[in-house]
Structures are given as structure tokens and as C-alpha cells.
């Protein structure tokens, strides 16, 4: 197993600094600082509606966080998560619309998730093949491909799949049978949360308890060593990006099935990038992704509540998230030896 003694301490500091940044911003921007602080940090725990929404918001973030972690574990960079989430939402919704009347609720949802997974996985798989066959950097190819996909999905939302009577920039709605059950009404929380938690547990088991997961982790730490030791590193690269893209897409469809019931233009904006930041905070550990995603959802919810109750703009959450992103990517700021126990 990989030793992660340093990870927790450092992630803790990062989170504390992000909260401090949030606090400072709230204090500066609000005319009623006390009320704003309370609204930002505490209101979310004050009723079922706020708290349920927090949990609901964490569901897609857990999945995109897992998607990013899975690719990072094998040292591959999937920067196309944004596009894959969006594509997965559209493909799954389209499948749901076609399947209406032919399948029961549970089976329908199951097929929608599978279809969605395959679409995102294929998108990321293209980047993987470009990398292993032609040596194209997956970081660039996945990002560019994803940006293109967003436009294609937009076309389908505005065009063939548009819900014309409503006049919205959205697809037609899914039938009620193909929706997750609400858990904490009146909040948005839905049973998709079990899906994301089970996904995290399965990934953890896969990475730390199975042969293929072992290969993936070793290939991520030292690809040349892995190849020399008999790991087919091209296969590892392909499957890690394939699964990463698929997971990202399920984030999109689960959010649609659970909350919106249809794909609205731009509804998933930010899920992908936040997923990457979550993976970084969680040090790519699948189980750590859950608390990291909850924390991101907490910041987002806090900002929204504060904007309702205390006239603070929601950009506060964005800035606090940016602080996290900055700190985790700038690891060099905190000397390594400060956290990790030293070795001879």
C-alpha cells in the first residue's frame, strides 16, 4: 500500500486556509458581517432543505472526483471531465426518452447509466488511444475534445432534442418512472447518493485490493519500472482513461435523473474542474474523495445561502474553491519534510 501519512495533515491545512479565505471575504463584503458569517458557515445545518441540497450537490462532485482520481492514479490526466459530464447527461437522457414505455423504472435507469458511461468512456478512450498509438499528450487531447463536445451537446439541446413548447434551452423531460426517489424532501437529495458512495467503495477495493488496481498504481508511480516488471502500461493507460471518462459521464446522468429531469444548457458547468480539485485534495484516494466532495459542496451551499439571507455574492464560494485549487497545486509552498516523516 502507498503510505499517505503526509496527506491528511496537509489537506487539513489547505481546508483550513480555504475556510479562512471564505471568512475574510464574507467579512469584507457584507454590511452585516455577523449575520453573513452565520449564514455562510452555519445556516446549512439549520434545516432539512439546506442540508439535503448540500448532500445532493456533493453527488456529482463525488463522481467527478473519482473520475479525476482514477486517471491521476495511473499518472494520466483527464482534463475532459467537463465535456464528459455534459455528454453523459445528454446520451443518458436521450436513451431514457427512447426507452420510455419499453422498460420498467429500475431497468431503464440502469440502461441510461450504462449508455451514459459508455459515451464518456469512449470520449476519454479516444484520448487514450491517441496517447498510446501516436504519443499525443492526453492532457491536451482530452481538453480539446471536451471543449468540442460541449458545443455538440449544446447543438442537440437547442436542436433535435429540444423541448420546444417550453421555450427553454433544455431537452425534453424524462418520464417520472426514470427518476430517482427523493430522500429528504423538500430538498433535492435523491437516492443517487448511494450510487456515488458505492462507486467510491468499488474503486477503493479495485485499486488497493486487486491485481489490476495494483498495476495501475505502480504504473502511476513509475511507468518505466512498471513496464520492466511486466505491466502492460499501454493497457493501463487506456483503461484508466476509459473508466475515468465513464465515471465522469455518470455524474452527469445521475444529476439529471436525480434533480433536473432533463439536460439544461450549461447545467453541469464546473463539475469537472471541481472534480479535479477534489481529487487533488483527496490525494487520489477514492474514499477520501467523499469528504473532499462534501467540503466543496459545503462551500457552494454556504455561499448560496449567504446570498439569500445576507446579501453576499455567490462568488465567495468560487474564490474559496480557487484558494484550494491554488494551494493543492502549489504543494511546493509547504515543505515536504514538514509533514512527511523523514527517512534515512
Amino acid at each position: 500500500m502507498i503510505r499517505r501519512s503526509g496527506a491528511n495533515g496537509r489537506s487539513f491545512i489547505v481546508i483550513a486556509l480555504a475556510l479562512a479565505a471564505g471568512l475574510v471575504l464574507v467579512l469584507i463584503m457584507s454590511e452585516e458581517p455577523l449575520n453573513a458569517t452565520r449564514a455562510f458557515f452555519l445556516s446549512v445545518f439549520s434545516n432539512r432543505f439546506y442540508f439535503g441540497n448540500l448532500l445532493a450537490y456533493s453527488i456529482p462532485l463525488i463522481l467527478t472526483g473519482l473520475a479525476a482520481s482514477f486517471a491521476f492514479t495511473s499518472s494520466c490526466f483527464n482534463l475532459g471531465i467537463e465535456g464528459q459530464v455534459y455528454l453523459g447527461a445528454l446520451a443518458g437522457t436521450a436513451a431514457g426518452t427512447l426507452l420510455f414505455g419499453r422498460l420498467s423504472g429500475v431497468a431503464g435507469i440502469f440502461v441510461m447509466i450504462i449508455v451514459s458511461f459508455l459515451f464518456g468512456a469512449t470520449a476519454a478512450g479516444i484520448s487514450a488511444l491517441l496517447k498510446t498509438r501516436l504519443g499525443v499528450n492526453e492532457l491536451i487531447s482530452s481538453l480539446l475534445l471536451s471543449n468540442g463536445l460541449v458545443l455538440v451537446v449544446d447543438y442537440f439541446i437547442e436542436g433535435p432534442l429540444n423541448d420546444r413548447p417550453s421555450g427553454l434551452a433544455a431537452t425534453v423531460s424524462l418520464p417520472d418512472e426514470f427518476r430517482f426517489e427523493r430522500l429528504m424532501s423538500p430538498s433535492n437529495l435523491h437516492s443517487g447518493i448511494f450510487f456515488s458512495i458505492v462507486a467510491a467503495i468499488i474503486l477503493w477495493f479495485f485499486l488497493f485490493r486487486t491485481r489490476e488496481g495494483f498495476k495501475m498504481r505502480i504504473a502511476g508511480m513509475n511507468r518505466r519500472f512498471a513496464y520492466y516488471s511486466g505491466v502492460d502500461t499501454k493497457k493501463v493507460i487506456f483503461w484508466s482513461l476509459f473508466v475515468s471518462g465513464g465515471l465522469a459521464s455518470t455524474a452527469g446522468i445521475v444529476d439529471v435523473i436525480g434533480i433536473h429531469g432533463r439536460v439544461m444548457r450549461g447545467f453541469s458547468s464546473g463539475y469537472g474542474w471541481n472534480g479535479i480539485a477534489i481529487a487533488l485534495v483527496a490525494r487520489n484516494h477514492p474514499l477520501m474523495v467523499i469528504p473532499a466532495a462534501l467540503f466543496f459542496a459545503y462551500l457552494e451551499s454556504g455561499a448560496q445561502i449567504a446570498s439569500l439571507e445576507a446579501n453576499v455574492t455567490t462568488e465567495v464560494a468560487k474564490i474559496a474553491q480557487a484558494v484550494i485549487f491554488f494551494l493543492v497545486t502549489a504543494e511546493a509552498l509547504i515543505p515536504e519534510g514538514f509533514w512527511r516523516k523523514r527517512y534515512a
Partner: protein, 503 residues
């Protein structure tokens, strides 16, 4: 007359992670204008002591006096400012930058045009004074290991230190380069600097030092001026055993297991031929040693045979089967094992645990779900069989000392019970005692498998090899049975006559 520059009193250090007591009341003194060696086995505490002197590690107890004043270093750069510089074992240079740019990295004043020019003059003066000529405008990636080492020395010297520490500097360089390095030592000490030479190589320590400290289990157990001791006495002290200079005995040789025909292998640059039309065969019971100055294709040859580098032409036959350009995975299945000489980059994964480094082949050949209990037991048994000193099998491999890592890697490759074994620099980093162990293991193993040892140390090749091949510029320039009386110089002369131009 030499003065005391650094007095170390009763230093102790225990590592929390593994509970290893790395230093146990070490007391010693270094003098200006002297070359002092710190001689000891793997994991005797040499590196820890040096890390404390330059401030990378903090001691648990004990004190240091530098030029009579209390000395508490905060880190390598503060130590260097005070006048103590270290040339580390693994060189910390950036290969994409030029030599001069690398030197600039340590330069603290702001970089106005005049300052750079002045700095360049200073560097040139340092190079002149100590005769360390370096091509300042060349990229570091085109430099040899010895030249990179010189770069580190120049970097340290431009800060005019009083003490310069060399951590195992002779591990990666050739015989001639070693002589040059020792010449530098002498020049430095003649300038009144204290040179500290950390090594596990007895003869080197003896030949160059004015003063020798022997360290064992974290304590200084011997303090000598050079004229007070002998190689034999040092050896007894270092390892607690008598020296035996006998070569591994030739055994009867059996069938050919590995045959290489007219092999050409790609170098690091596309299309470059690092190995050119090389042919040889290895029989069971006959140990083949491939030697020559580092960088003449030996490393590429090993990697090419083992599927880690592209074979441009020619064939590799394992047990009669054509295995040219096969992947390492398939080669392992057919019974070939190899240990590349690139330890950190290919042969091990330093950030992974000791266990993962050991069991990787078992995992890959094993069941879908990992049998952790079985693997833990396997790892612990193997480590104790080969006498590897470690804290916990879940510590990262980088917690091991160089020699212990070496033993771990050897044990891993041997435990796969191959029919042919390629070993890149198996003796690198091993001290006298473990060298003997290694030779004994090889003698035993060669009855069961064909072994090829790749070593740039020709003397080592002559000690272990039944047949010697010497490579130069990718070609075989010498290939003959190892006879008694064959010497380094003898082979050198033969090669010189054959090629006619190389010096």
C-alpha cells in the same frame, strides 16, 4: 599546519519511522588541509552523519563546533553559507539547462547583466584554479556522470567553503575519472580545505586519505592517520572478516541458454545505434561479465535484450527460441530475469513500499484479488534471507540505504528462478562484506542458470567473470575466457592494440 575546523561530539540520531538507531554517540574531528575518509558498510550511519552536518537532519543529542564556534545548521544552503558544502551521491542537476544555468541556480544576488558577467568570471576562475574544466554552454544532458559531478563540485566551490563533503562520489564513475577526482581532492586540501570522503571502498579510502575514520552501527570505531594502518587492518575493522581475493572458481559449463546474434540496439536519440552488431552466448555454469567504460552501450545492451529498448537488427535467442523485441512480461514468462542498472528509473519504484517493490511479479502472476497475507510473509522471508535491514515492509523503498535496496532488488530477481539472469551493476553500492556475499551467491547460482553481469568496474568483472567481454562505442572490443594472470592493464593494452586510437 592543519587546524581543527569541525569538531563533532557525541552525535546520536534515531529515526522515528523505523526505530533504527542510525547514529550512536559519534565523535570525530575534521582538520583543514586534510583529506579525511569516513569508511563504513552500508547503513553504518555515514549518510546520516553527513546529513546532520549539512542540516538536512537534526540530531537527537550531541553538539558540533565549526572553527571553534557552536554550529547548528538549518539546512544545506545555510551550511554552505557558513562554509560547509556537500556533493551529494545522487547529483541534483537539471539536465535541460546548460552547465552555466545550473550554476546560476544557486546564485543569490539579483541577476543584472553585470552580476552575471562577474559570476561567470568567478566560475571560470574556480575552474581554472582547481582544474575542473567544464563546457559552460553545453546542456547538462550531454554530460557524463563524472562531468556532472564536477559541476556539483564547482557549484560548491564558488561559495568558497572550508569543508567539502563527497558522499560516495566514486560509485558511478570510471577508473580514470576516479584518479581525476582524487587529484581534485589533493588540490583542495593543498588549498587548506578539509575534504570529507564518504565511502565503503576500503582501498580508495586508504589510497587517498590523510586520516581515516571507521564507522560501524552509528559509532566511530577506528581513528587512524594513514600511516598508522593498513588495508588488512581496516578490512577487519569494517566488516569483521578476513579478506579473500580469490576469484569465483570456474565450473564445468553446460548448454547455451542465451544467444545474441549481430544485435544492434537503439540509443536514447532516435535512430542512434547505442549497440552495434554485438554477438555472444552464455552457457549454464559460465558467468559472463560485460565491462568497459560507462556509457559505451552496456546499459542499452541489457535493456535491449530485456525488451525495454528497440532492437534495430539482429536476434536474441533464449533457450533456442527467438525472443527479439519481446516485452519484459513475456520474457519473464520464458525464464529471463534482468536488473537494469538504472536503479531509480527502472529497477525500482522509490515511492512505492518495500513490499510492493518485492512482490510485484507475484502480484502480476497472481490471482485477481491480491493475497496480502501471503505476500507479506513472502516479502518478510525474502528480506531476512538476504539480510536486508529495513524498518517496516510498508515503508517506501526510498527509506532503504543504497546497499540494502540493492540486496532487495537482487533477491527479487533471483527469487523468480529464471533460466538466464542479466544483472546491471550488481556490485554497485555494496560494501566489502556484501560483495563477498554477492560473489558467493553468484557462484552458487551459475550452476542453475546462465548469468550475465554488466559492470563498468573491470576489476570486478575479472573477479566474477568466467568470460570477459569489453565494450567500447557499442561494439565488443574484447571477448575471451578469463585466465589467471589476466589483469586490467593487460586487457587495456589488448584493446588499445586492437582499436589503435583510443587512449
Amino acid at each position: 599546519m592543519s587546524k581543527r575546523v569541525l569538531e563533532i561530539t557525541d552525535l546520536s540520531k534515531t529515526y522515528n519511522v523505523s526505530g533504527t538507531r542510525a547514529l550512536d554517540g559519534a565523535t570525530l574531528t575534521f582538520h583543514s588541509g586534510e583529506i579525511a575518509s569516513l569508511l563504513g558498510e552500508n547503513a553504518a550511519g555515514k549518510t546520516t552523519l553527513m546529513k546532520i552536518i549539512v542540516g538536512i537532519e537534526k540530531p537527537d543529542s550531541g553538539s558540533m563546533l565549526f572553527r571553534g564556534d557552536k554550529y547548528i545548521p538549518l539546512g544545506p544552503s545555510s551550511a554552505l553559507e557558513k562554509g560547509i558544502g556537500m556533493v551529494p551521491q545522487s547529483l541534483k542537476v537539471i539536465s535541460q539547462l546548460t552547465v552555466f544555468e545550473n550554476l546560476l541556480l544557486g546564485f543569490k544576488t539579483n541577476l543584472l547583466g553585470g552580476a552575471i558577467k562577474h559570476f561567470k568570471e568567478r566560475i571560470e576562475e574556480v575552474m581554472q584554479r582547481y582544474r575542473l574544466q567544464l563546457p559552460l554552454d553545453k546542456k547538462v544532458e550531454s554530460l557524463s556522470t563524472a562531468q556532472r559531478q564536477k559541476l556539483e563540485v564547482v557549484r560548491v566551490l564558488q561559495n568558497s567553503p572550508k569543508i567539502i563533503i563527497f558522499d560516495e562520489p566514486t560509485t558511478l564513475i570510471s577508473e580514470t575519472e576516479k584518479e581525476e577526482l582524487f587529484e581534485t581532492f589533493r588540490r583542495l586540501s593543498a588549498e587548506g580545505k578539509a575534504v570529507i570522503f564518504i565511502t565503503h571502498k576500503l582501498r580508495e579510502a586508504y589510497s587517498v586519505s590523510d586520516r581515516i575514520y571507521v564507522i560501524r552501527s552509528g559509532a566511530i570505531i577506528g581513528r587512524y592517520r594513514r600511516e598508522e594502518t593498513s588495508v588488512e587492518e581496516l578490512h577487519k575493522l569494517v566488516s569483521g572478516e578476513e579478506i579473500s581475493t580469490d576469484r569465483i572458481q570456474l565450473t564445468s559449463s553446460g548448454e547455451v541458454v542465451l544467444r545474441v546474434e549481430e544485435l544492434s540496439i537503439e540509443g536514447s536519440v532516435d535512430g542512434e545505434e547505442a549497440v552495434r552488431r554485438v554477438s555472444f552466448e552464455v552457457k549454464i555454469g559460465e558467468l559472463l561479465a560485460i565491462s568497459g567504460v560507462a556509457g559505451n552501450g552496456q546499459e542499452e545492451l541489457l535493456e535491449g535484450i530485456f525488451g525495454m529498448r528497440k532492437i534495430l537488427s539482429g536476434r536474441v535467442l533464449l533457450d533456442g527460441k527467438d525472443v527479439t523485441n519481446m516485452s519484459p512480461r513475456n520474457l519473464r514468462k520464458l525464464g529471463l530475469a534482468a536488473l537494469p542498472s538504472d536503479r531509480d528509473g527502472a529497477a525500482s519504484c522509490k515511492t512505492a513500499t518495500i513490499k510492493d517493490n518485492l512482490v510485484i511479479h507475484r502480484v502480476i502472476d497472481g490471482s485477481w484479488i491480491i493475497d496480502d497475507i501471503g505476500l507479506d510473509a513472502f516479502a518478510r522471508e525474502l528480506l531476512s534471507d538476504y539480510g536486508v535491514v529495513y524498518g517496516s515492509i510498508f515503508d517506501p523503498a526510498l527509506s532503504l540505504s543504497g546497499g540494502n535496496l540493492q540486496k532487495l532488488l537482487l533477491s527479487r530477481e533471483i527469487s523468480s528462478e529464471p533460466i538466464a539472469l542479466l544483472l546491471g551493476e550488481p556490485s554497485r553500492g555494496l560494501d566489502v562484506k556484501h560483495l563477498h556475499l554477492l560473489r558467493a551467491v553468484l557462484t552458487k547460482l551459475k550452476d542453475e542458470m546462465a548469468i550475465v553481469v554488466f559492470t563498468t568496474d573491470l576489476e570486478e568483472a575479472l573477479k566474477v567473470g568466467d568470460r570477459i567481454i569489453v565494450m567500447s562505442e557499442g561494439r565488443i572490443v574484447y571477448n575471451d575466457v578469463n585466465r589467471p594472470g589476466l589483469s586490467k592493464h593487460g586487457i587495456g593494452r589488448l584493446i588499445l592494440n586492437a582499436t589503435g586510437e583510443r587512449q
